[in-house]
Symmetry: C2
Amino acid sequence: MTDPTPLSPRSPRAVLIDLAGVLYVGTSAIPGSVAALQRLRAAGLPLRFLTNSTRMPREPIAARLRAMGFTLQADEIQTAAHAALNLVRRRGLHPRYLVHPDLRDEVGPDAERPDAVVMGDMGPFLDYAQLNAAFRLLMDGHPLIAMARNRYFMDADGLSLDMGAFVTGLEFCSGTRAEIVGKPAPGFFHDAVAELGVEPEDAVLIGDDLHDDVGAARAAGLRAVLVRTGKFRAGDDAHPQVRPDLVADDFSAAVDHLLAHG
Amino acid sequence: MTDPTPLSPRSPRAVLIDLAGVLYVGTSAIPGSVAALQRLRAAGLPLRFLTNSTRMPREPIAARLRAMGFTLQADEIQTAAHAALNLVRRRGLHPRYLVHPDLRDEVGPDAERPDAVVMGDMGPFLDYAQLNAAFRLLMDGHPLIAMARNRYFMDADGLSLDMGAFVTGLEFCSGTRAEIVGKPAPGFFHDAVAELGVEPEDAVLIGDDLHDDVGAARAAGLRAVLVRTGKFRAGDDAHPQVRPDLVADDFSAAVDHLLAHG
């Protein structure tokens, strides 16, 4: 392995942790990560868990992680849906939501006179009437806020069409440009550090995706640790443009380094 | 009015006639157009009626026009759906069709092992499962043939999202580029003249849309008459790039000119 580049001398005051590929893969915790999270908590560092989930609310995500042995609360998780709600609150918007029924309780009811469209992954619940209602709001000049622009995802029965299709389609027909709130948007990281009461440069992110975690966090002013698990591919730790502040074999090694040198 | 530019001296041997805005507006025949079509038929010129309809089969389109007083048969009409079927036949494809239920009889059943996706306007019958099945065929390298890429259309209750949203979305997610078969594709005009057994330069199109009728027909090698009805807007007859071979006040005047000078 490459020797880890030391982090900058300034100690991190908060840690953001990407979920899939860092803490777990599939339905199993990555070896050592449950104990490593306990060590990190024992050190008293405030934490946020990040996921680009656009369909599932925070409570079942937390429950799934607890079932793998992790200790965490729903309100420590930042999802793309949660980031969209933060943005709605900050701007005082009254959206119509195009979201999966599972997410409806988290976003609340649609406004009677909507002044924005907020779009998540509706999965099989997508229909023409909802898209057309959104289209008409966009044609009236209201903004389109989308949780993500992903092209596809791996479903149980194969590669499947993701919500990027509908974001792009609505943009094309209405002439509106969507604002994407999930990773890699800088606001996604800024939201998380703001909730923890620290500045971006005082926070460190631990992620497995060179571009959407590490590159995006660094572009947002945070430091970033790349782990060699999950999406990590050989060569990610020697990319000419995107350079993590630290490369660690896994979450456990990353935590050890942060606690020893951070 | 501008004096009509005379058509080139070569007599047209076939006439293609755009439907909406040329023969009728809404549900009414444009004054003089029923009689003008009779004069054109009496002159013995072979005819094709063109429409970018991606939802309705040819028989009900013909029936609607007959109800306005026009004499025409379903098989004289070229729709975007019909152009897609011609292309499927020419290439020996076995498509999965994403079409409105009204069009299902015209296209026939889906192939058991599809090697192409043919997409029309499904209107409210669009659903995620169908789009995802199409997406998977595209990811397997099969082509996407789309009847149109329109952004929106005027429905009874207002401006509505058109199929361009789903064509563009599937393209974005699959990395495939759709082949559009409706106007303004040159093949749309070539299909029509081929069925009439004449060369493009021997045919003349009469249309109300400067770009999708006149410009597209001329780009396909036909001559084109622009009428000042339907979509015609002031200045269309003096466009710096798109120049009709003839500008006429309406279909009746266009027919008179063709019969007198054509």
